[in-house]
């Protein structure tokens, strides 16, 4: 959530093909979300990527 103090949601991804990963997240509320992707490479290096998901609305 873009607002501090709000509950984050967590999810894991699994490999479905070489270099392709799939997972699901259930956003707990409408609003602007930011997905943080934490990656650990085989050699132990760590990466972090940030993807904005603005304007999530309720079903």
């Amino acid at each position: 959530m873009s607002h501090p103090g709000m509950a984050p949601v967590f999810g894991e991804v699994r490999q479905i093909a070489p270099a392709q990963y799939q997972g699901s997240l259930e956003f707990a509320m409408p609003g602007d979300w930011v997905v943080l992707i934490h990656v650990t490479l085989p050699d132990g290096r760590k990466l972090e990527r940030q993807v904005s998901v603005p304007g999530v609305t309720a079903n």
């Binding site: 873009s2 409408p30 603005p54 304007g55």
Partner: protein, 469 residues
């Protein structure tokens, strides 16, 4: 303060500075992290501390004690240090000696909060804090006394209005002692022995003469009067919350509430702004903003938001208060003119407004209570202090199922307080038919309370991009 230990503590001359120094350090950390730290708000000290912890702690301290955040204000510490090097020469302009400027700034901050989605921007939040420090230095660098606190500071005005509900106030212990007092140091300041000019302890900078001071309005709890009084006759006392809203005496430094249209307007922005600020975080606001933007054929947020603010902070209060005042004239037989009547009863809405601020801010504070830990750990690790360990981002706060009943309790408490104040005003206004004067204003309170309750059960929606979908 009659509690052993606390009396000595509050009489300690350096108490304020000791409270201000940690807050100044925290402010500096917030500015640095806001400008140089992560851009994601939940990971940044500036946004987390400003919009979750500071606001929540502020309203809870106001509810349980008093205006202690003004006492510990870090801006005043910087100002006091600056005043060692330059002395202000001018008095605050006569035409600006009212609340219009500060209530305009208060409304502007509420507007900017929505327009720039301040909660999601560490950078803007940091600049807001920097802007505050600079404004304090400029205003109090040019103008004498506590001009910034009394006539400019929007946070201070919020605290002044909210502290009318607080259970503690700074007041005289024994008025008979004041009648015999020759020096009036509480307002003039204590002079050095043998010198009529050198002030060794300043008196009240906000022009509140203690023997005639009523309640907490305009009182920053700075305790200058406590330290200046040569008779140890001023202290922090308990009282019935909101009792100062039920009476209308001439107040030192303020006058009568019923004759202060600007203070009443501040109370309106405080009360209706509470609902507007909470409305900004639920889903229906985006549908309304999108509809307004469509009606106006605009693609930017500001015009729709401007209309929303005009509706909630001007039109809605004008219609509701105007109707209630007219009905009070017709039913209660009040002899007052329409505007003075509306001004008088406006203060009755303050407890309800405070209940709404409490419900809103304590929700964020309590549900995000522990988020300060991983955010601080993360900030510390960025400057190489890793002794706090790895941040645990799963730390949150008190579960919503416990917080929501508390929110409802705050709103019910706010409504009860408003009804009590309005009833007292109606009794002193229309002694023969108090119920008839009470009913229109009670109806306004109930309507606002129902709107607040409706908002509490709306799905939360924190978006800065309502036009995106």
């Amino acid at each position: 303060m009659q509690v052993p230990g606390l009396r000595r503590l509050f009489r300690w001359r350096h108490l304020r500075t000791v409270l201000q120094i940690p807050l100044l350090i925290v402010s500096a950390a917030m500015i640095l992290d806001g400008l140089l730290g992560p851009s994601l708000a939940p990971k940044n000290l500036a946004t987390t501390l400003s919009w979750v912890h500071f606001r929540g702690a502020l309203v809870l301290v106001l509810l349980c004690a008093g205006n202690f955040f003004c006492l510990a204000c870090p801006f005043m510490l910087v100002r006091n240090v600056a005043r060692r090097f330059f002395r202000p020469r001018l008095n605050w302009p006569q035409k600006l000696r009212n609340k219009w400027l500060s209530l305009g700034l208060f409304a502007l901050i509420l507007f900017c909060y929505e327009e720039f989605s301040l909660w999601s921007s560490p950078w803007w939040t940091a600049w807001l804090i920097v802007g505050y420090f600079l404004t304090v230095l400029v205003v109090d660098g040019v103008f004498k006394h506590a001009s910034f606190c009394k006539f400019v500071c929007p946070i201070g005005q919020f605290n002044f209005v909210a502290s009318t509900i607080s259970p503690l106030e700074v007041k005289v212990r024994d008025l008979d002692v004041c009648e015999l007092c020759r020096t009036k140091d509480c307002i003039r300041g204590r002079r050095a022995p043998g010198s009529g000019l050198v002030v060794i302890q300043r008196g009240c900078e906000l022009a509140l003469f203690q023997p005639l001071k009523v309640g907490n309005m305009d009182c920053t709890f700075c305790l200058d009067c406590v330290h200046a009084c040569p008779h140890d006759n001023i202290g922090i006392s308990s009282r019935m919350p909101a009792s100062e809203l039920m009476v209308d005496p001439r107040r030192s430094g303020i006058g009568r509430f019923s004759q202060r249209t600007d203070v009443a307007a501040l109370a309106i922005v405080f009360s209706f702004g509470a609902l507007l600020n909470a409305f900004g975080m639920v889903s229906p606001v985006y549908a309304l903003e999108s509809w307004l933007a469509g009606m106006m054929h605009v693609n930017s947020k500001a015009p729709a938001l401007g209309v929303l603010f005009a509706l909630f902070l001007v039109l809605e209060p004008a219609v509701l208060m105007g109707l209630a005042a007219r009905l009070t004239q017709l039913l209660g037989g009040s002899q007052r003119a329409l505007v003075p009547l509306a001004v008088r009863y406006t203060y009755g809405l303050v407890p309800l407004g405070f209940g709404m601020w409490l419900a809103h801010y304590s929700f964020h504070f309590l549900t995000g209570l522990y988020t300060v830990l991983p955010v601080t750990q993360s900030a510390a690790s960025r400057v190489g202090w890793n002794w706090f360990g790895a941040p645990r981002w799963t730390l949150l706060g008190i579960p919503m199922r416990y917080v929501q009943p508390l929110e409802i309790g705050f709103l019910v408490l706010g409504l009860a307080g408003s009804l009590l104040v309005i009833h007292q005003l109606a009794e002193s206004d229309c002694a023969e038919r108090p119920l008839r004067a009470f009913v229109p204003w009670a109806a306004v309170s109930v309507v606002l309370w129902m709107a607040a309750m409706w908002m509490m059960f709306q799905p939360m929606d924190m978006r800065g991009t309502f036009l995106a979908g």
